[in-house]
Symmetry: C2
Subunit: 419 residues, 2 copies
Amino acid sequence: MGPKNALYAQSGGVTAVINASAGGLITACRRHSHEIGTVFGASNGILGALHEELVDTATLSDEQVASLRYLPGGAFGSCRFKLPPLEQDRRPYERLIEVFRAHDIGYFFYNGGGDSCDTALKVSRIGGEMGVPVQCIAIPKTVDNDLAVTDNCPGFGSVAKYVGTSLMEAAIDVRSMAETSTKLFIMEVMGRHAGWIVAAAGLAQRQPGDPPHIILFPERVFDEDALVARVNETVAAYGFCTIAVSEGIRDASGRFLADSGRTDAFGHTQLGGVGPTLANLLSARTGLKNHWAVLDYLQRSARHLASAVDVDQAWAVGEATARLALAGHNAVMPTIERVSDDPYEWRIGHADLAGVANVEKTVPDAFITADGFGITEAGHRYLAPLINGEDPPPFVDGLPDYQLPQLAPVTKVLDAYDV
Amino acid sequence: MGPKNALYAQSGGVTAVINASAGGLITACRRHSHEIGTVFGASNGILGALHEELVDTATLSDEQVASLRYLPGGAFGSCRFKLPPLEQDRRPYERLIEVFRAHDIGYFFYNGGGDSCDTALKVSRIGGEMGVPVQCIAIPKTVDNDLAVTDNCPGFGSVAKYVGTSLMEAAIDVRSMAETSTKLFIMEVMGRHAGWIVAAAGLAQRQPGDPPHIILFPERVFDEDALVARVNETVAAYGFCTIAVSEGIRDASGRFLADSGRTDAFGHTQLGGVGPTLANLLSARTGLKNHWAVLDYLQRSARHLASAVDVDQAWAVGEATARLALAGHNAVMPTIERVSDDPYEWRIGHADLAGVANVEKTVPDAFITADGFGITEAGHRYLAPLINGEDPPPFVDGLPDYQLPQLAPVTKVLDAYDV
């Protein structure tokens, strides 16, 4: 009997480095082909697994696998599809096990965030109950850095570097024209519940008074009057003001600012986006000329400016996943353990999925200044190493040379499944 | 009698490489200190010149001058301030000449766009009339690439590279999740009247069908029905659709789609938010889940991703400005002349300001596909070389190491001036 095969799937919002984890995993599995057979990929995440839409990574050359290090997005496709609670509907879990049995899959590697850890945990349990043992290992991935247990999460460091750089660059621009032009610049970033990304904008501040002058965290209740006062003080002191704002800030009633149903200064219905919402609000309250940017997907796909630390860690958790599988682990996730801040040292550990699944790690109070508008020294110390180093992709004709792998579909053997 | 001094001023919206032109100019002037004395900088552009707020670049070391190559924004400060028409008010022009006389300035180097060419032309004329001969040389700069006579304009190539890269990266992201998530992605870029920047998004397309699927040019009347049809066709064919849109698109009545109702100091309508406007419109008409990004200042300050060709050309026009001055030229601008497309070769020429001032160069019909939604092979051939090569700034601790020069103010000798 040959070795069991593996199924790798990507889950949820993609990152600039999720494919590096795939690259690390596949590379490590190839070194142990006597213990881990074919590494299949699920097309478009867990939906592909349910529909038995698998691809065979064996068709990729070693060079193609290595080049996954440089490719943003999800090379295998990802999806936003949450399995129903197990108690409510066992059917999709049992379907997964059927697919695993049909393709002799003994390893399920699920690259995602908190939801994915939960799914991997349940699949492992159901497999056991059905007599189809599957080692389920979650591979951490999220731009939001909100996974518990691991010190940080692959995907975050590159967003952090992009956000810090973008804020720094835009602020230099605004500063140089503030006398007659824009005095207030607002940059909206992701992070609906956890403010790690917006906190990273604070890394652009190297001296007191440097931009960003104001950071608005989802961990703090939005206080309009306090913000207006701080904006006015900042412009009085420096001639301009820069704000980094999380998409997820909420008022005292718990309402997202971007969903507040406001109309703008001209009576138009607010279009959505906390950046323009805040710009309109501050324009009305301060009269300052403003500009705003909304980074949206650019921040999580900007592989051209990835953090080398982040890429290395993403690759490493992929490799470690194979090691954990070979060592017989089940229902675990490789983690990143911080050994020291400066010089930054880290190593790979692992954690039981039960402690990771569905636990959201927000920015601790110790990392946010007392006024709620900045990051503390402790916050800076935590964040700074994660953006270190550059690891640009190859460029061709002035643009990144991103290679989308062409993957051969695996012949289906099961009946169709209705999700 | 020593050599005449020079005054350098930055004008209008800054770019990622305008300081490279300053660096090239100052470096070249230092090599000819017998002919060109002190190079003063005007603080915050022409307003600094009017207010006699000058700085002395002699306090910068050669290394600091060289590092201007890497600094985005305007190192000396810039402004949006348009001098009144000469026929209407000679006073500011005469004031400039007084400032020039007071500081023994015989060279005025004005780094800006079409408006600045016009100002430089007039200053040259008034100086002559007042018996204070000043050699006025405009140094081309604009992200919009809309200057006449020069084949392209420093500042544009870097925006083009940033926009092309950003579109490519975001599209890879969207593509990998389109089955269950966002199917329509809209990226708003600058370019109020000229669509060069949005055209550059087209460089991301290497194969037919590649993103961007749709480009919306300010040179074409916005046709909602045609757009909706194309979006639906694109999603049917590829599963997702990406749109690059210029902030300046207008409907058949000439109204900007994103008209915010405000105007800037030049009387230009201030635009904001065509991205969300279009997203709302297409959401209502197609029902597709969408995301949008607004690049705003990030696109023109992203020195971390500058085009090496652009940086080289920006430096070169600065150097050439000194050469033109030494050769006795007046009321001219150095230009970039294209020698060949592939391999790309260029050289520096020069043009009379009369032919450049207030002439806006838009994207020619030959560069826009017949359906109005893409760039032609000719457009690609023109644009492609301008984004070539990478020239990243030095990084420290994971972020660009941008050095803002500390410049010593020059003692004022004239009475205050009321603008």
